[in-house]
Assembly symmetry: C2
Homo-oligomer: 376 residues x 2
């Protein structure tokens, strides 16, 4: 029987009514004769609420091992509620923690890496005909310590399980119905992409697109897993993220990321970022570009970064697509869109990134979308 | 170095400020040169809130295995927050789930019994000089399923750990400063007991006194553990619960319990109660006396009990003390306190229990306290 992995983000399980709708969707997939493994995030704002408690009780400096213990309660609650909802519908289901699922990580609390997946209990329960629900974002170290995977961790859990279970597909279900050429809140003429390559998706994610986590996409690329980004509650074909097929210049989309550009002693800068589990978007000897998305304890991080020589609040606007950074012409077009200002530029084969003041960012997204997506 | 086990109930860890005060109390004990193991309940009303979610998502009929998974998130949150608070004070601490603490139970979800305690990791961390925080109320079965211990489970966790660690004392810290001869909210002249025997405490708890859980006291009696009921935030000597010393009639106190008296087919009645994890206070062939305290899903239970021949909402008021049920005279005095009404009576060596309408219960508590405690 084919295995399907479905991951539901926090907004898809934000309350009891939504959890019941997710249960209905899972039941439907099960009824189609598939073995279903469901990965869930914590409900809505639970993780943020727990983080706020942690900051408060620890005077802004939470011990990471205890922070992991705390945060993993969030997925425990959502997965058990989904298990209860499935049973109430007459669907046999069993929920497992990261540890029970056999998700073995290194010991880097708040930012652990999956080393290995041993889904012994998942296989057993699938064979018994049960739906298996797995807590996203968490695992256990070889020392039997509870760990979390850091930003976007539930996506990574889903991909790692899909690989270990040889799933036919890994669905990433959220409140958007696929990957778009730009944020629909910024650009009205944005288009849904029917498919794109792992590399293109990775660049979009790294450039600030929120639909899929960059590390999870990298994981999927390395293991040849096809991802299917879909809406939880709306129908529609979504977006497939799969192996690259070679072709000429093709634009994936325009992405926006709010960043901090920090300058100072490189060694101390690296240490400060590591201490806050903040992954720099880019890192040079004497400066780092840090996204302000998904940073746990942003206030504490910003406070520490202010001790460095210089800190600027900027936006990074990116054009992502195969071959976009491989020739001079797309860069010239991008710079023309930036108008009179002469932004700092980062270029890599799949991406052109422009650093501009935050006030100019949204207009630049629209201009780049008109130039690169709407014209083509 | 002597080991001390301290258990803090839900009201002692109800918010961040209280958790910080508990951390200060734990740090103080540690500074006295003791190895400290702390057992915590879930914060304030967390368990009730999780139960309400479970009822809602499962249409009032929660699957027990998933319910256990859900409820154990409550202690996980409180123990991690206490760990964070201790670290913030510079006290090395580590929090463990029931499973990590080696609390092995049978597989009876929502009402498991502790079979064995293997505190390997607790010993290791104590030797490293750390304070160990343990999630109360939970354990793990030999099949590696997460279980909960049922009502008052955190007290039982504390006692079982005290036995396994050969602790010099097991402190049960709550918002009252010891065991009283009656509920101070009902009787103004109530007295704190300096000490009483395990058997007397067990009878008081079974009769409805809330300070200590009856099963935990039974566990302490069987293992010879001295319990120390104390206030978390107020000073004071508290109440010691220890091995019995033989003596004549001595009254421990007056207790009140709200109960349902149900009549009907005994076999079906036992099954219904078991299905809701409701332990009857008393059980005969064709009737059961069920406390409405600490019943998970009381609404569903009451609905099912209403399908039986008869159900009465009553109060059980008890006089508890050594020898109180061993002669005619205390019973006559108790019945005189009940005045004109002729209540149903249950007598056992350590206790006289009177079943009365709820409206008469509080007055009867006061009359019995005046007769048995204030006169003596």
């Amino acid at each position: 029987m084919p295995v399907i992995v479905q991951k539901y983000g926090g907004s898809s399980v934000a309350d009891v009514e939504k959890i019941q709708r997710v249960a209905a969707r899972v039941a439907e997939t099960r009824a189609q004769g598939k073995q279903v493994v469901v990965v869930v995030s914590a409900m809505g704002d639970t993780t943020d609420e727990l983080l706020a408690l942690a900051q408060k009780v620890s005077a802004g400096n939470p011990h990471r091992r205890e922070l992991d213990m705390l945060l993993t309660a969030g997925e425990r609650i959502s997965m058990a509620l989904l298990g209860l909802a499935l049973h109430a519908r007459g669907v046999e289901a069993v929920s497992f923690t990261g540890s029970q699922s056999g998700i073995i990580t290194d010991g880097a609390h708040t930012n652990a890496r999956i080393l290995e997946v041993r889904p012994v209990r998942i296989f057993q329960e699938l064979e018994r005909g049960k739906v298996v629900i797995v807590a996203g974002y968490q695992g256990v170290s070889r020392e039997k310590e509870i760990t979390t995977l850091g930003r976007g961790g539930s996506d990574t859990t889903a991909v790692a399980l899909a690989a270990a279970l040889e799933a036919e597909v890994c669905e990433i279900c959220s409140d958007v119905d696929g990957v778009y050429t730009a944020d629909p809140r910024l650009v009205s003429s944005t288009r849904r992409l029917a498919e794109l390559s792992h590399e293109e998706m990775q660049q979009l994610a790294l450039a600030g697109a929120k639909v899929l986590n960059a590390q999870a996409v990298e994981f999927a690329r390395d293991r040849g897993i096809t991802l299917h980004a879909r809406s939880t509650f709306a129908p529609g074909p979504g977006t497939l993220v799969k192996k690259a097929v070679s072709r000429e210049l093709r634009i994936s989309g325009i992405a926006l990321d709010e960043v901090l550009l920090v300058q100072g002693n490189g060694q101390r800068l690296r240490e400060a970022l590591q201490a806050h589990s903040a992954w720099p978007r880019e890192m040079w000897e004497d400066r780092a570009l840090v996204s302000t998305e998904n940073v746990h304890g942003l206030v504490a991080l910003r406070k520490e970064l202010e001790t460095f020589a210089a800190i600027e609040e900027l936006a990074q606007v990116s054009v992502v697509g195969s071959g976009v950074g491989a020739s001079r012409e797309p860069l010239d077009r991008a710079l023309r869109c930036a108008g009179g200002s002469s932004p700092r530029v980062l270029v890599s084969p799949l991406r052109i990134a422009l650093l501009v003041p935050r006030s100019e960012a949204k207009a630049l997204v629209r201009a780049l979308h008109a130039e690169f997506v709407e014209k083509s």
